[in-house]
Amino acid sequence: MTLAVGADLQGIDEVRESIEIYGVRYLRRIYTDREIADCARQPSDVARAFAARFAAKEAVFKILKDDDVIAAWKDIEVSLDSGRPVIALRGGAAQLASRQGIATIALSLSQSSGTAAAVVVAERASGSSR
């Protein structure tokens, strides 16, 4: 077994500006219905919650990167399980993970006043394609 690590940063104000300019069109191209509902329930800053999820999706892309299979942002869903962030993959992202022998991805999210960060660690089975 080997480990793969992905990390990404996302400016919160950039996400806030995208929501202000493009609204639902922006949200629906990037985030799943569940993510939109979860973020809408955030008591403080909705943009901060979306920024953290965008960083998580990009961090997962870095692990799954492959020129042959296309994974869309909505193929990667971040949700909370008893307050702990978890990743679910579907579509092209699930295909890529399967091809690479990845069964488990752990996620950590962090936020400062202006930036959201995500780190993902994946276990890749020995003998997988990457």
Binding site: G11, V15, I21, Y22, R25, R29, F61, I70
Partner: protein, 89 residues
């Protein structure tokens, strides 16, 4: 510079958060190497949809689509004659 190329650059200026003016970029210059982030590429895509009255399908939502002005113009061309008509004024 084609009409479509000019419109694409205007969208990049408005949405791309590039540290350089999009008007100074050549058609084949790599936009990511010139500072286009993944998140900004989403805004560029939405701005292009407004400017050209199209919708990018999921299969075009990949990094290569927004790699350069030329790549964007090629992607818009694949979206049909209506795009070509709009792009050419």
């Amino acid at each position: 510079m084609s009409s479509a190329g000019m419109t694409i650059r205007e969208v990049l200026e408005a949405n791309g958060r590039l540290p350089v003016s999009a008007m100074t970029l050549r058609d084949d210059d790599d936009l990511y190497q010139n500072g286009l982030s993944s998140h900004a590429s989403v805004n560029v895509m939405l701005g292009l949809e407004n400017a050209f009255d199209v919708e990018f399908p999921d299969e075009l939502l990949r990094r290569d689509t927004f790699k350069s002005v030329a790549a964007i113009e090629a992607a818009l061309t694949t979206l049909g004659a209506h795009v070509q008509s709009d792009a050419n004024g």
